[in-house]
Symmetry: C2
Subunit: 200 residues, 2 copies
């Protein structure tokens, strides 16, 4: 914003622009929108920001985000606590919960190995996973990181740590996405789909 | 977000989703991003929201947003205070200032006439414009609302109020956008460009 603009508006636009996926143009539009909101609504928004940051933290068991000591999934006696699905982010937990098909528990790594970006194993919540397994009662760990180079590397690294402990480790299946078209599938996906074909 | 998610996070995502142009999916991503920010940065963001709303208000002369009593443009003695450019929003002031070619002052209506949406003349800052003109010293009013149905209607309405006061009223030129291609111009724009052709 040019210097004829009100300074508090410029500062607010810069804050919006610092969020991922919001450019300076959108940030300015959002800042102007805030001006048209009720004072109470703006204060609630500000309070929601501070509250989320202050009250939400990692579950002491699975490292998913929660405002309690132990998240509702880890605290649910109905779920199968012998199967742990290892994911990158809390968003991935939401994705699995949407399928309504998984009844085990989760472990959130909060990142993927990427030595180039300085993400080494000690930056991820891997030791918390090992501590859970050390307590016993875990039969299977499903590595559900993304099908990317970093996701695969992380899955292999964690699997390498768990195998010697006698834990069954699995990886999500690769193949054609349901509803997808063969002709649009990339060659690696198609190769994986062929390789992992099921006899019917 | 499903009910396994932390409530403060759900509330924050809903606040982001209430902003224009941000869907629930992006809002969730933003809420998760806030979790990864420093506590100090989150508090600054919250403060920026409240500050902008509290300290920024309409300039008592031109109704542009400012944190002062009179905005820097209205307070600038170097500018031509006899020409007023009437725009819809503060963003439009920024757009004109970017051209660096306009040395007059502005008047921000904060909307366009749209009876269907309940925006009647009394909802816009039209009486403030009439009060400025009643004080004298104004030679020309440039109607610089958008080239849309509402923009044209508002321009005509305001022009109808000003003409009897002996004020010169003009409207922005319609024509081809510079750098545009004839073949992509819509028929109304092309007709306007033909009608308003200049002899060279």
């Amino acid at each position: 914003m040019a210097d004829h603009n009100a300074l508090p508006l410029i500062i607010l636009a810069e804050k919006f622009a610092s969020l991922p996926g919001i450019g300076m143009k959108s940030a300015q539009r959002l800042a102007y929108h805030v001006m048209s909101m009720d004072t109470a609504a703006v204060e609630e928004f500000a309070q929601a920001l501070v509250n989320a940051k202050k009250n939400v933290h990692c579950c002491s068991v699975c490292c998913n985000l929660t405002e309690r000591e132990i998240c509702p999934i880890c605290g649910d006696a109905e779920r199968d606590h012998s199967v742990i699905c290892v994911v990158e982010t809390p968003k991935d937990v939401t994705a699995f919960e949407r399928t309504r098909e998984y009844s085990g528990v989760y472990h959130v790594l909060h990142g993927l190995l990427s030595p180039i970006d300085g993400v080494t194993p000690d930056k991820l919540h891997i030791k918390e996973l090992l501590a859970r397994i050390a307590k016993g009662g875990i039969e299977e760990v499903i590595m559900a990181t993304n099908p990317t180079v970093e996701g695969d590397a992380t899955a292999l690294y964690v699997a390498g740590l768990l195998k010697p402990l006698g834990i069954k480790v699995s990886r999500l299946a690769f193949g054609l996405p349901v509803g997808g078209m063969l002709e649009y599938a990339d060659e690696v996906t198609l190769f994986k789909a062929l390789e992992n074909r099921n006899y019917i």
